[in-house]
Amino acid sequence: MKKIRCALIGSGNIGTDLIYKIQRSEMLEPVWMVGIDPSSEGLARARSMGLKTTAAGVDGLLPHVLEDNIQIAFDATSAYVHAENSRKLNELGVMMIDLTPAAIGPLCVPPVNLLEHANKVEMNVNMISCAGQATIPIVFAVSRIQSVAYGEIIASLASKSIGPGTRANLDEFTYTTSNAIQLVGGAKKGKALAIINPAEPPMLMRNTIYCQTEDEPDQTRITESILQMIGEVQKYVPGYRLVNGPIFDGKWVAVFMEVAGLGDYLPRYAGNLDIMTAAATRTAEMFAAEILAGNIQLKPLEVA
């Protein structure tokens, strides 16, 4: 079967884990990995896994985009360089999946709104954050039943799973995730909290979701909706598991989740890494399926 050829930008934890996810895909093929440090472990690993690499940043990839027929790129660098990366690749007709908190394109949580984005042939979609991917499906599962005045999520992450980029830019993570709880989750107000826990052995990623409904919560329907949504996420993140709840306290609904990863690049505790890369892969597959079926054709963007 023909596959859509992909480039991975950023050779850190996320970029490296993506190689494994994309190599397993029936529709995607990882062809290039782009870094900025010739001695990076991620680039070395990419080479050993058969990818072409450059340490010259996105500019090192550009001359090869057309000849290597790259149609989808994943950006796992930082919010600060994403816009420029995206502009350069969109100009060549490459669709961009943004795993940074830059969020210049529409926000995507696969079981909530992926189909909508694929139908619109968006040239840049943003994956929000690991915490967003792990919690927004639940917020949406409540808000599709009844109006949510306030959604709050707490993500606890193993210290070893958080790379230097995220650490140095925690505010971007907070802003992007809070905003997405509203825009994608459907809560009128959203708030995101992140905790980095150094316990040894490392703890699995944990996520708590609190929703305050406007009226008395319909406990049966909300519980059904949440359980159905967990099943949807489990299709691409098998380690996504309900630990406790939903429990109801007045108008508050609380759900306690855990995410175990597949253990591709980092061990299983790094569910945060997995849920992000799995969601990005699923998003790319949805676009790839449409491209392969001839339903959408990516066109170079005219830049004013």
Binding site: Y150, E152, I154, S156, S159, P164, R167, A168, N169, L170, D171, F173, T174, Y175, K191, L193, A194, I195, I196, N197, P198, A199, E200, M203, R206, T208, Y210, Q212, T223, L227, L242, V243, N244, G245, P246, I247, W252, A254, F256
Partner: protein, 351 residues
């Protein structure tokens, strides 16, 4: 060091925590009037620094940490203009509070900030520390749950915060777990690696009754800033009781610039009457200190205990075993539910 040092003439900056850590002891429910009464009494007693925010700091208003009746800005706007000499500080925990909120607190008159991270995660604070310095604030790197890092490890974390721009590094005994020798080892390790002009601070909790002795131990090794709160109003068994600490300092000739009798009166006449529960070492708060659990977990664990029928002590011990840290208050309910299920007190919805 074994012989008792002569600390006569040493100058210490005392930082009161009643209106921040004390918020935890009040389940974040402090009125504007109570804030003003306490802040003006502290100011009048010569306390040079007063921290004013939600117990969890900027961005603290949340389901996770409790909703205070007023925003941080509302508290700051009322308190700051009433002070004659004291400087007002805020707490900022990256991952919860943001630079936007720091700017807003600055605009309301805050001039000092504790930028707090867990004792091994200092590298989550560079943007906030740098931004605080850019605003011209007196900037502290506040290493929480400091007993969970070695003296050398903690020193490296402090060095990182210093490199981001922190002017003071605090050893924060959030669990009230440390003994004086633990404190001394950590202050000494920091003193070895930090620049001479970088100050060292100690923030104690009284869960093992060591608040005063730990603070004195810190001063003996070179700390020059001490967090305390009048009548100990704070999380767990409270912070180092400020008026007691000042009395000890007076006896030892350590200069605090505070008026002891005014502080004693304030403890008795203002703070004690507004306590919802006696903030003291009791079965639950002693468990925190003994097991090394974050002091703020105390009231959350008591509530979870009432709701799910598992004892507070059992919940706290389990949280300690699972190595939960400050900010993971959601895991208290989660842990209590899991324990209740194991004991047949609660049914699983998916079962």
């Amino acid at each position: 060091m074994n012989q008792t040092q002569d600390l006569k003439g040493r100058k210490i900056i005392i930082h009161d925590m009643c209106l921040r850590d004390g918020m935890h002891a009040k389940r974040e429910q402090m009125s504007i009037e109570q804030m003003v009464t306490i802040a003006t009494a502290l100011d009048d007693a010569g306390v040079p620094m007063i921290q004013v925010t939600h117990g969890a700091g900027l961005g603290g208003n949340s389901r996770q940490h409790g909703f205070a009746p007023h925003s941080n800005e509302e508290y700051l706007r009322v308190v700051v203009p009433r002070l004659r000499q004291a400087k007002v500080s805020v707490l900022l925990i990256p991952g919860l509070g943001t630079m936007k909120e720091l700017q807003s607190a600055y605009d309301c008159g805050a001039r000092s900030v504790h930028v707090a991270t867990h004792c091994t995660e200092a590298d989550t604070s560079p943007q906030h520390i740098a931004f605080a310095r850019k605003l011209g604030m007196d900037t502290t790197g506040f290493l929480m749950m400091a007993h969970l890092n070695t003296p050398e490890g903690l020193a490296q974390q402090g060095k990182l915060m210093e490199s981001y721009g922190a002017q003071t590094i605090y050893i924060t005994d959030s669990a009230g777990y440390m003994l004086p020798a633990d404190v001394k080892a950590r202050v000494a390790a920091l003193r070895t690696v930090l620049k001479p002009e970088t100050e060292i601070g100690f923030h104690g909790h009284h869960n093992m009754g060591m608040g005063i002795s730990n603070s004195i131990a810190a001063i003996e090794e070179g700390a020059s800033r001490i967090d305390a709160s009048v009548a100990g109003l704070g999380a767990g068994a409270g912070n180092t009781p400020l008026e007691v600490f000042v009395a000890v300092c007076e006896r030892m000739g350590i200069e605090t610039g505070c008026d002891l009798f005014k502080l004693m009166d304030m403890a008795e006449d203002i703070i004690l009457p507004l306590m919802d529960h006696m903030v003291r070492v009791d079965r639950a708060s002693l468990t925190l200190g003994y097991a090394g659990v974050y002091s703020t977990f105390l009231l959350h664990a008591k509530r979870a205990s009432e709701r799910f029928g598992v004892s507070t002590r059992d919940i706290l011990i389990e949280l300690g075993r699972k190595k939960m840290i400050g900010g993971q208050e959601d895991m208290i309910v989660d842990t209590a539910m899991t324990m209740a299920k194991e004991r047949g007190l609660l049914k699983d919805v998916t079962a």
